[in-house]
């Protein structure tokens, strides 16, 4: 078991199995088809991301360096949250990017029924250590426990 300390972007506590991408997470390419066609597991649709392609993301601790791609990314993430189809949490190795930050903030302010803790600045070591299906616990102060 290892602990990592990050910065809280949107608060909350959760325990969930990890799903990990070591390359940038393209929010539009990853989520749009699943949301559009009612895939309840929200399997990743981004063919350019071999780490995640076709893996379910709903209810998982999504571990990533940052998001990339279309500037609709933030609103896609917001839609996922509003539809109750979001990851359990998003854990960024790097500083959060402007698109993911927008999605996280929009969900936090405008969606009453959903909590999706978002932690960033967890460092490269976090992404090197965490593997798919490890159990990840997020604490209120930005501590992330991986076991």
């Amino acid at each position: 078991m290892r602990e990592f300390k990050g910065r809280v972007v949107t608060p909350g506590t959760v325990t969930a199995p990890a799903v990990v991408t070591r390359q940038g997470f393209n929010t539009l390419a990853s989520m749009q088809m699943a949301l559009q066609f009612g895939d309840k597991k929200v399997k990743c649709g981004d063919q350019s991301n071999p780490d995640l392609y076709e893996k379910p993301m709903f209810g998982k601790a999504l571990c990533l360096p940052q998001t990339i791609g279309s500037t609709t990314g933030g609103l896609v993430l917001y839609c996922a949250c509003a539809m109750g189809r979001q990851p359990a949490c998003m854990l960024f190795a790097n500083h959060i990017d402007s698109l993911a930050a927008a999605g996280a903030v929009l969900a936090d302010v405008w969606v009453d029924s959903v909590t999706m803790p978002v932690i960033d600045c967890l460092g490269d070591e976090f992404l090197e250590y965490v593997k798919d299906d490890m159990t990840v616990t997020v604490l209120e102060d930005g501590t992330v426990r991986v076991e």
Binding site: Q47, T72, S98
Partner: protein, 424 residues
């Protein structure tokens, strides 16, 4: 974040609960980047990235309705990205069924919301709102709340305006509250280059290929580009602006570039030159071999890589008037050379409605029509953003379209050959 009395009052509810939530959104967004303050938006118009009434985006339209119901409106009118559908663009029965009955069922409803929210004109649907014909062209130093990545990078780099790479919805919320957080590309420090890119090619590099190479290398950083003025000159004329439009879109989509400086050409580079380069900036040299390497590494995601193309899209981002005219000349003369009267692959040139309106007043319009090329205001990306198009071999010279869809990238010369002569 330090708020002014006015901003704090709004956050505390002086203008109602919904406006307070809009302000809270912008404050939290700024806090994520340690922004010290909010600064006023100074552009005449806003521009929104969300133009499509996609069923899956229902929560966005619900949110827009909350704003409308609460009377929380922007003082700015706005343009918006292109419409997703146009009956002039070839589509089969199944595609039309999926587009109209399944995917874009909210289009009319959403366009109604846009009108209520302050759409600047019924035809203000384009990703190139900064074209003179469209009229949403910020001034140097203007603070914007835009989100469309190709427009943001153009406004920052070519026009010298200041805008971060915002997400959709943040664009309208900034405009409604009138302020955006001061961080990143709004600051002098954030506009400094952390990369020096040296262009050492033996010919003018293809705009969308060069942009792709730089975007993939520098990602979200700011590049200072040396040696491109040799090919583009030192004046921001129509040809240079058109090149930079396509170049910038590729840097923004293949990476996440929001600002670039071209030595001796773009406004801040002309003013400050190498003072814009941060100490310790990394270096990237681009020659013919490097561009070839980048192009050869693009994955081919067609089901049958040897398929004959069924459709060609040009104009992502939307073409300029200058491009429509020069491509008319090129298509005409290439058809003549290859002994054909019409293009051999269905081909669509896309441009802003207002640009097409001007183009249609010129003698070029009938000449282009005679070649069989279709003009449209559509967003090629939205057209292709569905499972049916994955099976369709589409070619394009847009590196943005290549990045987000299954379309295959070719250089302008290769596209010209393919649509006028044929072959795979």
């Amino acid at each position: 974040m330090q708020l002014t009395q006015e901003q704090q009052a709004i956050l505390d509810g002086s203008k109602g609960e919904t406006m307070a939530k809009v302000m809270k959104t912008m404050v939290m967004y700024g806090d994520a980047f340690e922004a010290e303050k909010l600064v006023p938006i100074t552009s005449n118009y806003n521009h929104l990235v969300t133009s499509f009434g996609l069923k899956v985006m229902s929560p966005v339209y619900d949110l827009m309705q909350q704003l409308l119901d609460a009377g929380v409106m922007s003082g700015q009118k706005f343009s918006v990205d292109p419409r997703p559908l146009d009956k002039n663009v070839p589509a089969n029965f199944l595609q039309n069924f999926v587009f109209n009955k399944f995917m874009y069922t909210k289009q009319d409803f959403y366009e109604g919301q846009l009108k209520e929210l302050g759409l600047m004109d019924k035809d203000a649907f384009t990703c190139t709102c900064y074209m003179d014909e469209v009229g949403n062209k910020p001034k140097k130093g203007d603070i914007l709340s835009w989100a469309e990545s190709s427009a943001v990078v153009y406004a920052n780099s070519v026009l010298g305006a200041r805008c971060n790479r915002n997400s959709g919805i943040i664009d309208i919320m900034g405009s409604i509250v009138g302020f955006v957080p001061y961080f990143g590309l709004l600051t002098d420090e954030g506009r400094k280059a952390t990369w020096v890119v040296k262009i050492e090619t033996t010919k003018k590099p293809e705009a969308q290929l060069l942009g792709s190479a730089i975007g993939m290398k520098v990602m979200e950083d700011v590049p200072y580009i040396v040696g491109l003025d040799k090919w583009l000159g030192t004046e921001l004329n129509d040809a240079a602006c058109t090149y930079l439009k396509d170049f910038g879109a590729a840097t923004a989509s293949n990476g996440a570039v929001g600002l670039y400086h071209i030595e001796n050409l773009t406004p801040e580079a002309v003013e400050s030159g190498k003072e814009l380069i941060k100490e310790g900036a990394k270096e990237y040299i681009i020659d013919d071999a490097e561009l070839e390497r980048v192009k050869n590494n693009y994955p081919v995601v067609w089901k049958n890589p040897d398929a004959t193309p069924k459709l060609c899209f040009m104009g992502c981002p939307h073409m300029s008037l200058e491009q429509l005219k020069s491509w008319t000349d090129k298509v005409e003369s290439a058809l003549k050379e290859h002994g054909n009267k019409k293009v051999v692959i269905p081909t669509v040139f896309t441009a802003a409605p207002k640009v097409l309106e001007q183009f249609n007043k010129t003698e070029y319009a009938d000449r282009l029509k005679a070649t069989g090329v279709i003009t449209s205001y559509i967003c090629p990306l939205m057209y292709m953003n569905n499972p049916l198009c994955k099976k369709m071999p589409v070619i394009t010279s847009s590196n943005k379209l290549r990045t987000y869809t299954s379309a295959r990238y070719y250089t302008d010369d290769e596209i010209l050959l393919a649509i006028t002569k044929g072959g795979k």
